[in-house]
Subunit: 204 residues, 4 copies
DNA sequence: CATGAATGAGAGTTCATTCAT
DNA sequence: GATGAATGAACTCTCATTCAT
């Protein structure tokens, strides 16, 4: 009875092909130019075919978002090996930045794009986003317990740190920092991050 | 030769009228609902007329960006009255946030939107943006001179602070923080900002 | 040669399954939502399969019409138990109305919809419809014989009565009588029917 | 200042051209085949142009309905010259039938089509329809006052008469009476109508 | 026999832009 | 200088139907 399985696998493959095409279009032409037609053209199928695999445009975007969130969460998990919470927080920041700059189009979709969570998700969708935020909150909490951070509320601090890294990568992704040559980007960004985190994390 | 001058002045007036209408539409209906037709309707001219004053839609958006940058710069200038550089930096952050949250669509256009500077100047445009960044850099430099900040490069620190505030407001504007109820927003944001700046600015 | 017979019987069974599903869709979702895909989904076959049993969508609609006519004819037959022709005529009207209001989408298909008998028989089809009309004609004829109706041609009278009930139910089905609240519908319709029939059927 | 007027007149002319094309399409191809694109093709304009004169497809249908209701009402008004209410009622029926058979596509739109009064009208629209119904009700009332009709409620009787004529014409328009050759249609229909009305209207 | 992936045509609608007046 | 009617290309989405497997 491998038939049903094969069918399902084929289906998933086709979904993936569509998602890949959509993602490419994001990179090449930007969010607002991603249309069902263009996706269909890119994969050399008819527009109708896309609808066999995705209910509508939103579903495609949501699927891409989920892929992004899953990958980001996966990267966060690796951090759990780091015992020192301050060190972990610094690594956290670098992981965030690295993820964003390696997958700018996914990051854009997840955190920048004008939310396409019109119809269905809102909950399921963001739950998965919240999961990642919670990992950060826990990290901050550990830092507080270990006295690396002595004042402030967990939420405010977490939001601050998140904003810091989000601000950096979104200025880069949306090309608002022409002053930094591309080749120094990562170094520059990490310097900024290190500076702020160094100030926040007191030597105890 | 007053005729040519008058003509030019009339022309500028009309451009302003169009830009005002466009800006109102931004505020009232959001970026994606701004169409040439709607702008024309609002000023009670025909769509064709708009094209007599602006080459295309992009040119209107760019002009609006400039208006935004000018207004933001104006607000920054007020800060020059504050003598204590640390205090000034804190005020700087609040001014930034206030500007963004009061003019979310304009802010979006200036700092978030996928740049519509496709066919247009790219440089002229950003010069004006850089001017504002420089005001921040100077403020940071003052803080370093006055020993409020003891380590780090001016550029990295400036970028960090900018990223922090940009990150906060852009997460809010693009609705990525469902966890904060709208009424606590400003307080929460300022708490985060104060926390980070307090850590950065050492008591000397 | 039982094989051929079995095949034919299987074929008829499958046709019936498809028609049942189609009819359910009619009732549940209305004419315009009946698509081949939905029918196929409902019976858990593929769209292609439907085409093995029916040439096209029209053929399904025609088959449904026939089912409708058969059911209506069946209901008419029950009337033959009523001996008094005047009484029978009144019952006839009520049966008609009841059938229509109980199966509005089917009735619509049979008597209102722009005929889907485009490519199809036109005659075979309507023969079966005529059969029902003839039952009415006979009833009218009986009434004339029994002196309940004293003047007029059978055809004109039959057409008049048919038009009356068809007019009532089709105004209702196509929602052209906002003035009657739904709960009084049946009562109101029967009042109208009784009035007209009372006038037509003289007390002899 | 005839310019504004001319503009308005041109506009109305274009609307009329569109409406005429739509009406033709109704006749030639039936309601469900009337599409914006086909209308545009027929008048040799682009689809977008149609939207300059009508908000959406519904508005076109509603405009046609209104035209139909207006014309029908106009014809009803002529009846007011007839003093004898019984005679007037008979004329009323003939006017109704004549209007329907002379303008089958309009009639279809007004009374048969699955109501397209989705969004806006419902009220404005049917008010105008009700106006015509009221003319009938008044006629019936006059008949009752003058003792041509001795029993029954005005509403039930009016509904009965309306249903009768509506039933006749809609069976014809939707081609459910293949048994009558087209050339005898009017005569046959009037015979039926006269029969029923004769029974209803007692000689007093 | 049955599948179901794929299509092609077409639905309604929107909008930046042009051009004859 | 201003008009505004008109366009053409684009959009998302639906569906009857076909055909290789």
């Amino acid at each position: 009875m491998g038939t049903a399985e094969r069918k399902e696998r084929d289906r998933q493959e086709m979904r993936q092909i569509i998602l890949d095409a959509a993602q490419r279009l994001f990179l090449d032409e930007g969010y607002e130019h991603v249309t069902i037609r263009r996706i269909a053209d890119k994969i050399e199928y008819s527009p109708g075919t896309v609808y066999l695999y995705f209910k509508d445009k939103d579903e495609i975007l949501c699927a891409l978002q989920e892929i992004g969130f899953a990958e980001f969460y996966r990267r966060q998990q690796i951090l759990s090996g780091i015992k020192n919470p301050a060190e972990k927080l610094r690594a956290h920041g670098r992981v965030y930045i690295q993820f964003a700059l390696e997958n700018p189009e996914l990051y854009d979709l997840m955190f920048i794009i004008r939310a396409p969570m019109n119809s269905h998700p809102k909950d399921t969708e963001w739950e998965i986003g919240m999961r990642s935020l919670n990992v950060l909150r826990e990290n901050v909490q550990e830092c507080m317990k270990a006295n690396f951070i002595k004042v402030g509320s967990v939420d405010a601090i977490s939001f601050g740190i998140w904003s810091l890294v989000h601000g950096m990568v979104s200025l880069i992704i949306r090309e608002r920092i022409p002053m930094i040559p591309a080749e120094h980007r990562t170094a520059f960004v990490e310097e900024s991050l290190d500076f702020v985190l160094a100030e926040i994390l007191e030597k105890n």
